[in-house]
């Protein structure tokens, strides 16, 4: 194991997240090393999405401490995080390229590189960058891929994917799983929340089981690398 891989990318200590009287996270503690593919599993309401949103800085822990990519304050890590949610996080009225061009401005990608970066990200998910159709007219599978392209746009060190295989056909899901594994193989740390663990069984480094807002089990796998 290299030094990079042994360095924890995410360190959580006693994370509690409450929404009113409901506690979505009830003391999540753990260290997660770099360059690995973590698959987070659990029933609905187990706290998987809340944990992912807390790592992404979209939800703020009520109590406990989290450090992401070595930063205690999430704002310093944002440029190195890629986040894909269950909804597409894309504007339906704009094409894939138009969406990615806009988001590249938010990440401060130099104007000279924008076109190439957007094209590379779209090509990486096996879509056509020249497709001049609004995202709202894409199939669900295409939308999920474009959403992954958006998450990959800034070449993040940490990739957070929430339900990337939901509502997509089996072939598209299998192709998406390969793309996720390839991202890990390029050195990114990937967290995937899914109800379809079979899609990532061959690639995952670790399965994390959550129940009632806690991590109840972590199972290391062989982590099939391509």
């Amino acid at each position: 194991m290299s030094e990079t891989q042994s360095t924890p990318v995410v360190v959580a200590d006693g994370l509690i997240k409450q929404f009113g009287r409901f506690a979505a996270l009830r003391g999540v503690t753990g260290e997660f090393a770099a360059g690995k593919l973590y698959v987070i599993l659990g029933d609905n309401g187990a706290g998987k999405t809340t944990l992912l949103r807390t790592i992404a800085g979209l939800a703020h822990a009520t109590r406990g401490v989290i450090s992401v990519l070595g930063f205690a304050h999430i704002n310093e890590a944002r440029s190195q995080i890629g986040y894909m949610a269950h909804p597409s996080l894309l504007y339906d009225e704009m094409s894939g390229m138009e969406n990615l061009r806009y988001f590249s401005e938010l990440y401060g990608i130099p104007a000279a590189d924008v076109d190439k970066k957007c094209r590379d990200a779209i090509n990486a998910v096996k879509l056509d960058p020249d497709l001049d159709r609004p995202v709202g007219q894409y199939s669900q599978g295409m939308r999920q891929r474009m959403s992954l392209a958006r998450a990959l746009l800034n070449d993040p060190k940490l990739l957070l994917l929430d339900e990337p295989f939901s509502n997509v056909d089996a072939r598209s899901a299998a192709e998406m799983a390969v793309l996720v594994a390839q991202a890990r193989d390029r050195g990114k740390t990937v967290f995937v929340v899914t109800h379809q663990p079979a899609q990532l069984e061959a690639y995952a480094d670790e399965f994390i089981w959550m129940e009632l807002g806690r991590i109840v089990d972590r199972t290391a796998t062989r982590g099939g690398r391509q």
Binding site: F19, A56, G57, L58, A59, H60, N75, R78, S79, I81, Y83, A85, P87, S88, L89, L90, Y91, D92, E93, M94, E98, Y102, F103, E105, L106, Y107, G108, P134, R150, N154
Partner: protein
């Protein structure tokens, strides 16, 4: 990462989305047109009476119509939760607010440009005071509407009845600005008094509320 580049990109994106959907501008135009026509049937004022009431009529119509654009500006960020893509990025909150406020300013200004000739025709308006003063009044008044409106529309974003919540939050706070807009417009139309005091009030209102909104917007954006 350039503050200006993010503002420009967000503004261009909003104008592009509005150009393609025309959600806000169509609804605003239709609403304002209804107000003009209905009021012209309801009242049959003389030219003198028109000059006295037109300021109030015009600005109230624009205020209500602007609510449509203000609600729409954030509604499109909620579809597919696109706002989360902004929040997760390293882009600061302020350019988003400035771009949204400028976008709304442009939409409402377009509405005003299209509706003003109709108001003039229906109410037979001819200003007796210096008519050039209507331009700074329109600019300052429109900014007063959109800057607070953009802020409160963002604040009511996560509430259940956000379309009701926005006017409830916005209207009471807009009273001083509305007084400034109505009285300064009436002063120019009738030519009886100077609008200087009311224009100064609008300037002060715009400076105070723009500063307050800019300072507080990040907290609003990060609120869960």
């Amino acid at each position: 990462m350039s503050f200006l580049a993010i503002t420009r990109a967000t503004l261009a994106k909003d104008i592009r989305l509005e150009w393609r959907s025309k959600d806000a501008i169509n609804a605003m135009l239709f609403f304002s047109l209804l107000v003009v026509v209905i009021f012209s049937f309801a009242f049959d004022p003389t030219a003198e009476e028109s000059r006295r009431i037109a300021g109030g009529l015009v600005w109230v119509a624009f205020l209500f119509a602007a609510i449509v654009a203000l609600n729409q500006t954030w509604a499109r960020e909620l579809r597919n939760q696109v706002l989360d893509a902004y929040r997760v990025s390293p882009a600061p909150a302020t350019p988003l607010f400035i771009a949204k406020a400028f976008g709304n300013f442009i939409f409402v200004a377009v509405l005003e440009a299209l509706m003003t000739p109709l108001f003039v025709a229906f109410y037979k308006l001819r200003p007796l005071g210096p008519s050039w003063q209507l331009i700074p009044i329109a600019v300052l008044g429109t900014w007063a509407l959109v800057v607070n409106g953009t802020f409160f529309a963002a604040m009511s974003l996560r509430t259940r009845a956000r379309e009701i919540m926005l006017p409830l939050l916005l209207f009471p706070l807009s009273i001083p600005a509305l007084l400034g807009m109505v009285n300064s417009t009436a002063a120019v139309l009738t030519g009886e008094t100077s609008p200087t005091f009311w224009i100064a009030l609008l300037v002060a209102y715009d400076v105070v509320f723009t500063t307050a909104c800019l300072l507080m917007f990040e907290a609003v954006l990060e609120a869960e």
